[in-house]
């Protein structure tokens, strides 16, 4: 298990090699990157296996009091600021932490990254910067894996920033066109604002705890809770730190005020969206909240209430926009934001296992959907759903796989999505008041509705003549989709407690104490009815065109156009940027040039010149004037001397 740090190192090593020797490697280095991530996937299985049969005795492992899960921590010193031992000196460490949460995330990231890289071998064929794409791809995977493995906040922050910069490079991959450039810049700056919150949170914790290690921080919180804030971390600091960390998570996981960058990030290549904006990067925020759950749930856990509220609002708002947007990738982007909202909601409702379970299920299904959208885009060259229709006749396999993903996220039983969403609804019903539950159910309905809408518009209905040239994507693209489809189908099953010692996901990943799986009958029934009803409704309106929505559209027209304009977030942000930020900087630049420079600096120079001009007027050139001066001088002097002597 100590060799878990090999996983990111493989990809870190692959990236520079591809960049430098890309031209000479076969397929310009893409094989090397795939090998690296495959190696990572293999090591993941070793880590899982060695964790399963590890126990308290093995080196470096202990049952952490906070999460109650067996965690193993391996630590190595990086560098120290200030002579070791001197007062106030700080020594900074690299280190990895293995616990079920990490293993689950490792599995998700490595598997999805592998699938996407294989997929993009075909998808990105013939792109001039093919090698560079794979280099940044493996750099991103490495950074994401380090983030998941990090055992101290410093390493987490470093990986967090590297993930940000890799997403900037990948979104802005086709930087010839201005839109990707702007989208990449927007993504980086918005996430960077979140990162500021994260950094301040980390420094706040460090200032209180004295070291960057997560275990020390959780220990301090636990001591603080026990002693009601006498020593260890006081409530104020804990809440402030939790909220600041959540600010960072909101930036990365595109929660409400910071979500504007995710839809624009669709400008990047579709496999990038599949990996980054579905399965890995966006869930980093959820992972962060899960990883630092002790700090969130310390004292009376009011940060979790805020997390729940933000999650719910994001889920609702994004689901509504997804319902009306026409671009296929935008629909999937908003659906990602909505599901992230759901995960945050479930974390906010103490549904730790549910959130992680949904994270996994959503990761597989959404990656699948994005790859499906990619293959549609690959063959028909446009993203607008208006142009598509009846593609199932032309692209049967993609249609099938896409439908599986859509049904799973829609919440149709036996599929992965249903079980995880059911768990979330269960957690919300147990720990939060009914208003949350109603809104969560409404969101589930909306997500089923837009998933159905997307599925039926694209693949059902009559095939437009210009699409008949479309062909099924090559095996290199369909095979990863099929694998992900299988997972989307079968992943739900791991939630049951099977015979043997494996008692369901609840006993594997949990916070506090593991609990077996139990199925709440009435809640399950309600959600099934909602999901199936929504799909039928979608089928009728979009595939058969029997229900027309014109009447509904005219009645709620003003709500519709508000939603269609994405609640005017972009306009508001753009306005503030143009007016406030650039305004201030323009003013300061002017202030700097006009005031500080021309007045304070050149001012004295001009004054000196003026005085100089005035001073020289007394040289009149006439001799007698000077004699007069001399006479007056002597008189003055003698008076002065006379006064002093008398």
């Amino acid at each position: 298990m100590q060799w878990a740090w090999l996983i990111p190192v493989f990809c870190f090593a692959a990236a520079p090699v591809i960049v430098v020797f890309g031209r000479y490697l076969p397929e310009r280095g893409s094989w090397l990157s795939i090998l690296a991530i495959a190696g990572g996937f293999v090591v993941f299985w070793f880590v899982l296996n060695s964790w399963l049969n590890a126990d308290v005795a093995t080196m470096g492992c202990f049952i952490s009091e906070n999460s109650g899960m067996l965690t193993c921590d391996y630590d190595r010193s990086w560098f120290n600021a200030g002579v070791i031992g001197a007062v106030g000196s700080v020594s900074l460490h690299w280190g990895i932490l293995i616990d079920p949460l990490t293993i689950v995330m490792l599995g998700l990231v490595t598997f999805v990254a592998l699938m996407v890289q294989i997929y993009s071998m075909v998808y990105m064929e013939g792109d001039p910067r093919f090698g560079w794409y794979f280099a940044v791809h493996s750099m991103f995977a490495a950074a994401m894996l380090t983030l998941v493995l990090a055992d101290n906040f410093l390493l987490l922050y470093i990986a967090w920033e590297l993930v940000g910069i890799c997403s900037y490079l990948l979104i802005g991959f086709w930087h010839e066109r201005p839109e990707p450039r702007e989208a990449a810049k927007k993504a980086f700056i918005v996430t960077r604002i979140g990162d500021v919150g994260l950094l301040i949170g980390i420094l706040l914790i460090w200032r209180d705890v004295g070291s960057f290690g997560m275990t020390d921080a959780f220990e301090a919180v636990r001591v603080g809770v026990m002693t009601h804030g006498q020593e260890g971390m006081s409530q104020g600091v804990a809440t402030a730190a939790a909220l600041l960390l959540f600010l960072g998570a909101m930036g990365k996981s595109a929660q409400v005020p910071f979500h504007v960058w995710l839809p624009d990030a669709m400008e990047g290549p579709t496999p990038v969206s599949a990996l980054i904006h579905a399965a890995t990067m966006v869930v980093a925020g959820v992972y962060l909240v899960a990883r630092t759950y002790p700090i969130f749930s310390a004292y009376d856990a009011d940060p979790l209430l805020i997390v729940a509220i933000v999650g719910l609002v994001t889920a609702l708002m994004a689901a509504s926009i997804a319902l009306v947007s026409t671009d296929l990738k935008r629909i999937l982007a908003y659906s990602t934001i909505s599901h992230l909202g759901l995960m945050m909601l479930s974390l906010g409702a103490f549904g730790y296992t549910a959130a992680i379970f949904h994270l996994m299920a959503h990761g597989f299904s959404k990656a699948l959907l994005f790859l499906g959208a990619g293959s549609v885009l690959h063959s028909t060259e446009f993203q607008d759903t208006g142009e598509m229709g009846g593609l199932r006749k032309v692209m049967p396999l993609t249609a099938l796989v896409f439908s599986i993903g859509a049904l799973s996220l829609g919440g149709i039983p036996i599929l992965a999505g249903f079980w995880s969403k059911d768990e979330i609804l269960l957690a919300v019903s147990d720990n939060r008041n009914t208003a949350f539950l109603v809104m969560a159910l409404f969101t589930a309905l909306l997500s089923a509705l837009y998933m159905g809408r997307a599925m039926f518009i694209v693949f059902f209905g009559d095939l437009k003549e210009k699409n008949n040239h479309a062909h099924e994507s090559p095996i290199g693209m369909t095979m990863p989709m099929a694998l992900l489809g299988v997972l989307a189908l079968g992943f739900g099953l791991i939630s049951f407690n099977w015979p043997g010692d494996f008692g369901g996901i609840g006993t594997f990943v949990f916070f506090g104490h593991g609990e077996e799986f139990h199925f709440e009958v009435w809640l399950g029934a309600v959600s099934i009815v909602l999901a199936v009803g929504a799909f039928i409704f979608a089928y009728l309106t979009y595939a058969k065109r029997s229900i027309d929505l014109d009447y509904a559209r005219s009645r709620f027209s003003w709500i519709l156009n508000v939603i269609e304009n994405k609640y005017y977030f972009d306009e508001v942000y753009q306005w503030t940027i143009d007016r406030v930020v650039l305004g201030i900087s323009g003013f300061i630049a002017y202030f700097d040039r006009a005031i500080v420079n021309d007045i304070i600096v050149n001012g004295p120079a001009d004054v000196a010149r003026e005085v100089g001009i005035k001073m020289r007027l007394h040289i009149t050139g006439h001799v007698y004037a000077y004699v007069l001066g001399m006479a007056l001088g002597t008189i003055g002097l003698s008076i002065f001397v006379w006064l002093r002597t008398v």
């Binding site: 006439h622 007698y624 004037a625 007069l628 006479a631 007056l632 002597t634 008189i635 003698s638 008076i639 006379w642």
Partner: protein, 174 residues
């Protein structure tokens, strides 16, 4: 008796000085200067400094006034002989009076009464001149020599032949 002579000579000196300063005509100024200097020589006599009086009359009366007159003659121009004061004269008058205001009280306050002037023997002067004051004497002769040469060089007209028509105003080429 000495009082009367002193008063007379004092009046003559002041009158001559005012004459120099106040007349419109340059030659009158030169003559009034002569009167003033001769009066000063008289005062030296009142002070029993006969040699000085002699020297005064000889050098000032004889040499300097003559040179001045030559200078006046050589620098005659169109507005000759009427000369006026420059625009600064009221200020100059005030400054002069202020100076008087300073000197008179200075002399009056710490005046030394009861002294009387005695005569100084000529041999004493000669002896002192060539013993304690020998060095200044030599330097004085040097000064005179330098002044002499300097005056010649400055006043020498560059091209010799042109010095006859000094009065022509357009002769400003050199």
């Amino acid at each position: 008796m000495a009082w009367f002579v002193f008063i007379l000579l004092a009046v003559l000196t002041i009158g001559g000085g005012l004459g120099v300063v106040a007349t419109r005509n340059v030659v009158h100024a030169a003559l009034s200067l002569l009167v003033s200097l001769v009066a000063v020589a008289g005062i030296y006599l009142v002070l029993f400094a006969e040699f000085l009086a002699l020297v005064q009359v000889l050098i000032y009366g004889g040499a300097i006034i003559i040179v001045l007159l030559f200078a006046i003659m050589m620098t005659r121009n169109d507005e000759y002989p009427r000369i006026t004061d420059n625009k600064q004269w009221p200020l100059a008058a005030i400054a002069a009076l202020a100076l008087m205001g300073i000197l008179v009280p200075a002399f009056a306050i710490n005046s030394v009464e009861g002294t009387h002037s005695q005569s100084a023997s000529l041999t004493g002067i000669g002896e002192a001149l060539f013993t304690t004051w020998a060095v200044p004497f030599e330097i004085a002769s040097l000064v005179l020599l330098v002044a002499l040469i300097g005056a010649i060089i400055i006043a020498r007209s560059d091209d010799g032949a042109r010095s006859d028509d000094a009065a022509s105003p357009d002769d400003g080429d050199n």
